[in-house]
């Protein structure tokens, strides 16, 4: 087991987070370098995720590293019944770092116990996706110039959306104020509200996407998915309540930025795209620099 692995966002302290964000800025200035020259990174996607895989593989390639691995486990020995332990033990012999995505929750933690090289979790089922959280933090840091004392509005599916849960935990180091806007069926789970209560971090719950956003520094939008509703009538009732339109941004703060983990369905109207407060496409680009910074930290590299 390697202590530098990044499996869950809670593996990073406040200092670790700030450390990664600082080097992400440096990678943004200088994305092409030879820091991974002579290194081999295993990219193991036991379930496909083109977006995340391309972001990682771009990050590695721009640092001069080599990539081995697979983008879908159907073509590997896993589909013949090989255990995760055996696959990791084999790959561990070949590489300096493992980046992995797996449909089962806890798979990356288990792999980090089995492997001698560090592991970066690129998503384990509905559990954690810490590099997404770090790129969200980098987007916030970059657009606001700080992480401290921000007012963050989270909209949509706050019950199942793992990105909002991880972002909530990570931002808790930086004295935020939260607003949660969701239908009753998809509200923030009690465990996270208790967590905030314990840290005395203020939060407010709302049912409607209205002028609460006028106080916001960050508006974090998520998809409200039809399959989350037992009652489709409920879905029909709420599906258009949580849609952001350009006109709604009229009274918002100058520094407000709209984030979304993408892909979007209809929760952000396309007329928002041209607004300079729309940041979701830039957010995706930040993923490469953030992942370079995470690899840099995980492998204990120096400039």
């Amino acid at each position: 087991m390697n202590n530098c692995s990044l499996i869950s966002i809670t593996d990073y302290s406040r200092e670790d987070i700030l450390d990664v964000l600082k080097s992400a800025s440096r990678f943004e200035e200088c994305p092409n370098n030879r820091l991974l020259e002579g290194k081999v990174v295993a990219s193991l996607f036991f379930e496909p995720s083109t977006r995340t895989r391309l972001s990682f593989e771009t990050a590695i390639s721009r640092m001069g590293g080599r990539i081995v691995g697979f983008s879908d486990s159907s073509s590997t020995s896993t589909s013949k019944g090989e255990s995760l332990k055996d696959t990791i033990k084999m790959v561990d012999n070949y590489c300096d770092l493992i980046v992995m995505r797996h449909p089962l929750e806890g798979a990356a933690r288990f792999a980090s116990e089995v492997a001698s090289v560090p592991v970066i979790n690129a998503g384990d089922g509905a559990n954690q996706h810490p590099t997404q959280t770090m790129l969200d933090l980098y987007s916030i840091y970059k657009t606001q110039g700080r992480l401290e004392n921000l007012e963050i509005v989270m909209v949509g599916d706050l019950k199942y959306g793992r990105t909002v849960h991880s972002l909530l935990q990570a931002m808790s180091h930086f004295s935020p104020v939260f607003h949660f806007i969701s239908p009753r069926e998809l509200e923030m789970p009690p465990a996270y509200k208790l967590y905030l209560d314990g840290l005395r971090i203020p939060y407010h719950e709302h049912r409607e996407l209205d002028n609460v956003i006028n106080q916001a520094d960050i508006l974090y939008m998520t998809r409200v998915q039809r399959e989350r509703f037992a009652d489709l009538l409920e879905y029909e009732k709420v599906k258009n309540v949580y849609v952001l339109r350009n006109s709604m941004l009229a009274g918002t703060k100058e520094n407000l930025r709209v984030l979304h983990p993408l892909p979007r369905v209809n929760e952000i109207n396309e007329d928002v795209d041209e607004n300079k407060k729309a940041y979701y496409f830039d957010q995706a680009r930040n993923g490469v620099y953030t992942r370079q910074a995470i690899i840099f930290k995980t492998l204990n590299l120096t400039w």
Partner: protein, 153 residues
Amino acid sequence: MTAKKELLQVSAVENGTVIDHIPARKLFDVINVLGIASCDNTITFGNNLASRKLGKKAIVKISDRYLVDEEIDKLALVAPSAKINIIRNFEVVEKKTVNVPRRVEGIARCVNPQCITNHQNVRTRFDVVGSTPIVLRCLYCEKLTDQEHIEIL
């Protein structure tokens, strides 16, 4: 009724262990987790006995056997209110309360069907994050398993 009389509701043990203050509906869980059904020792148990603390309680008496730490940890997960009496020569020589451990390994199942521990040969590991009632947090999938859903492996 005094504690001594309560103990006497089930016949006495010369040497061995008496587990008292088991909630009545947890008796069979206790029998299961301690593997009592398959051991050769003399076992007596009583259920639905009157108890001031629990309403109805169960008692298990095992002759010539003393519980090891792992067994006490298992007992703690299903019946944290239980009290252990060590008996030698018909006398209680030691009384122990069961302590809920801080870390539980290889004893309980994770409640999350999508957890790696429920699909592959991975020994379960939990942090105990609540003790009354018991709440376990899986070190792999990070989900909570509460007292009502604890299933002993």
